[in-house]
Symmetry: C2
Subunit: 185 residues, 2 copies
């Protein structure tokens, strides 16, 4: 299993826009599983899970890594899939939803850490907007890196993404000032 795979192919992202498949990948983060185990967790019948696993396998998101009691065991091909694709009408709703979820997770983290956010609604809007902007400007860069098919480590990806945000500093400065007013640091 790789640490990171950057996914830039639109057809592959569409495969993840299906909720059950997205859920399967989430479950496999914890440990590799068989179709039976997955179907128990998902409360779906085995043939449905099998069909989804085959789609995920073909797209390179999961792989067989062994057998247990006559059943194949499936694992993710990477711990982390970083999704970066050209904006496309057909996945716009999935993307918007994803950004909203990420923004509200960030809000939760801040609140649990005792960091006050003055206007939560505005924070969520601004955060989703900034995440989108960062994603859009980083895309050409990350596409080049994805094409080079390097065996990136997570720590390297952290620094790389930080570098990409940093490169957009001048463009983001105004929004950062707005954000600073919203967060009580």
């Amino acid at each position: 299993m790789r640490e990171v795979i950057i996914v830039t192919d639109l057809d592959k992202i569409k495969i993840l826009a299906e909720p059950t498949r997205f859920k399967i990948l989430e479950l496999l983060r914890k440990q590799p599983m068989s179709i039976s185990e997955l179907s128990t967790f998902l409360k779906k019948d085995r043939s449905t899970v099998y069909r989804h696993i085959k789609v995920l396998e073909k797209a390179g998101f999961v792989e067989k890594i062994g057998h247990e009691r006559n059943e194949k065991i499936y694992a993710r091909t990477a711990r982390l899939f970083l999704l970066k694709v050209e904006p496309d009408e057909s996945i716009e709703e999935f993307r918007r939803q994803y950004l909203r979820v990420e923004a509200s997770r960030l809000l939760e983290i801040l609140k649990k850490s005792g960091i006050k956010v003055k206007d939560e609604k505005e924070f969520l809007q601004l955060t989703a907007q900034v995440l989108k902007e960062i994603e859009d400007s980083s895309r050409p860069f990350l596409q080049k890196i994805s094409q080079a098919d390097l065996d990136l480590k997570e720590v390297e990806l952290f620094h790389l993404l930080n570098l990409l945000v940093f490169l957009q500093s001048c463009e983001l400065c105004e929004k950062a000032q707005k954000m600073k007013k919203l967060i009580d640091l």
Copy 2:
């Protein structure tokens, strides 16, 4: 095993500044191992490895997760340790070295992806400097989050760190312009 642990305690960081211990944690990223396995990989005798493992265990970096052939098996307590401490004379050299290594890894990634860097020496200097600056300004924030002892997911940490860089946009803008001139995007 957790996904992320943020380490802000100076004494703990000092423990990692010892090269063999740092190497042990790197080896355990791949899989949990016994003292014998570690000593084979490290080409060090078992008693040395045992001593280091005990120090790492006490500081909460590794834990026993089982037995195999009469030997204890050790694993990391988190996939990712994010080190964030107050600058301190005693670890300054370790930190500088770490930032230099990270900067040169980034340079390697860009080059392998076919992204041209005009002045490599200047790139390395500027990158190490920016990484340090980002780290310094993010520290109070990350300390609060570390104290809350949340079970952070990697993806959440990605967004959180991006948010922290974004918050410093106005301060980083000038350096970003310099960097853009160095990289041929």
